[in-house]
């Protein structure tokens, strides 16, 4: 078996990352199909790292990224337990972080937020930074929920600095969304940070490339949520010229997925 040479089944690992690429592109039908293929091939697989990675990349991680908190919380616990028993250390740490973030998003208490920070610091002492942009963004979101705008802004800056240093750009759009929300909390909101299409940083970083379509519904819905209070976001945010055809199609899929999520994403493969 190739798993013994590479530490993980390389064929299944292709499917894991393909699932993630499809999810980031908003191709949710493909995500469901790919997850199903993983499921059929992973049953009775003997390599612990391969099983743990399958559960992380095609179950826990999509749930985490797209906000299915109920399922993510219980599946992250199962992942941490499995990884602990079989000594799959780095996936265990990712499971711990996902769980900490979900808990803090539900209840943004000082204690729960501190747990995220501790898990992040623990990763950093091992020089393990994979997905740090996502976890720092989650930290910022929890701080915002807790009403700690100053710390949230610092976390967003920390996220931008990490992306600049590491080149881990796939979650950059989310950091810009959070930057906009932080801006809205200021006494004098800087609208260039709020309206994505007009943000120079947004354009320069290429966050509105086709690769980021799936984030735009979240971005738009959050801006929409805050719009009544602000009242001055340019109307072109809502026009079809700003909102490409592919995006409109993706939005429909996104809405469908939100309704049918529990059925579309299978249970774990333990």
């Amino acid at each position: 078996m190739l798993s013994s040479w590479f530490g993980i089944d390389p064929g299944l690992n292709v499917l894991y990352w393909k699932t993630m690429a499809l999810a980031l592109l908003g191709q949710y039908e493909g995500v469901a199909k790919s997850s199903e293929q993983v499921r059929s091939e992973l049953l009775n697989h003997g390599n612990a790292h391969t099983v743990a990675a399958g559960n992380f990349y095609t179950i826990v991680w999509p749930q985490f990224l797209f906000g299915n908190l109920d399922a993510c919380e219980s599946d992250a616990v199962a992942l941490v337990t499995y990884c602990g028993e079989r000594k799959v250390e780095h996936l265990k740490r990712n499971g711990v972080l996902c769980h900490a973030c979900v808990r803090a998003r539900r209840e943004p208490t000082d204690e729960n937020i501190a747990t995220i920070r501790q898990a992040l610091d623990s990763n950093r002492t091992r020089d393990a930074h994979l997905f740090e942009s996502v976890f720092v963004a989650q930290l910022a979101e929890c701080l915002l929920k807790a009403g700690n705008t100053v710390a949230a802004e610092a976390a967003v800056r920390e996220g931008f600095a990490f992306v600049g240093r590491s080149g881990e750009q796939f979650w950059l759009a989310e950091l810009h969304r959070l930057d906009g929300l932080v801006a809205l909390k200021q006494p004098q909101p800087d609208l260039s940070r709020v309206e994505p299409a007009s943000s120079p940083q947004w354009r320069l970083r290429g966050s509105r490339t086709p690769e980021c379509w799936n984030f735009e519904p979240r971005q738009i819905s959050r801006v929409s949520h805050t719009r009544p209070a602000l009242g001055s976001i340019p109307a072109r945010c809502w026009s079809n010229s700003w909102f490409p055809l592919q995006m409109q199609s993706s939005l429909g899929t996104y809405a469908t997925l939100a309704i049918s999520w529990p059925r579309r994403f299978p249970v774990t493969y333990w």
């Binding site: 690992n13 292709v14 393909k18 690429a21 592109l25 091992r126 020089d127 994979l130 690769e211």
Partner: protein
């Protein structure tokens, strides 16, 4: 050296072990499979350590190496690494193409 690297934490030690192994390979010691394995380890260590552009550059080297090999396993792993680094660096569309290329070399029975 690779076996030692696989068992070590934190990543600094892993990278140091793999870098030593690569020096030996560059000096003419070892096989193609060992070179591939070391480059694979270095690439994976780089993205785990948050050095995505280094990982991306290594993945491109690995693809060049794999494209000269006959065994499809080299291509499977190489295009997977390239796809992974493209996902992480925000090149999702290119990543999907690379991962679909890798998928063509899959053999679920191996």
């Amino acid at each position: 050296m690779v076996a030692r690297a696989n068992s070590l934490l934190p990543f600094q030690e892993t990278v140091a072990a793999l870098t030593s192994a690569k020096s030996l390979l560059d000096a003419g010691v070892g096989s193609d499979l060992q070179r591939f394995s070391v480059l694979h380890g270095l690439c994976a260590s780089s993205y785990f350590a948050g050095k995505m552009e280094d990982a991306f550059a290594l993945a491109r080297q690995i693809v060049e190496f794999a494209d000269r090999q006959v065994d499809p396993t080299f291509k499977l792993v190489a295009y997977r690494l390239l796809g992974t680094t493209q996902v992480l660096t925000g090149r999702s569309r290119e990543a999907l193409e690379s991962l679909q290329s890798a998928e063509r070399y899959r053999d679920p029975d191996r």
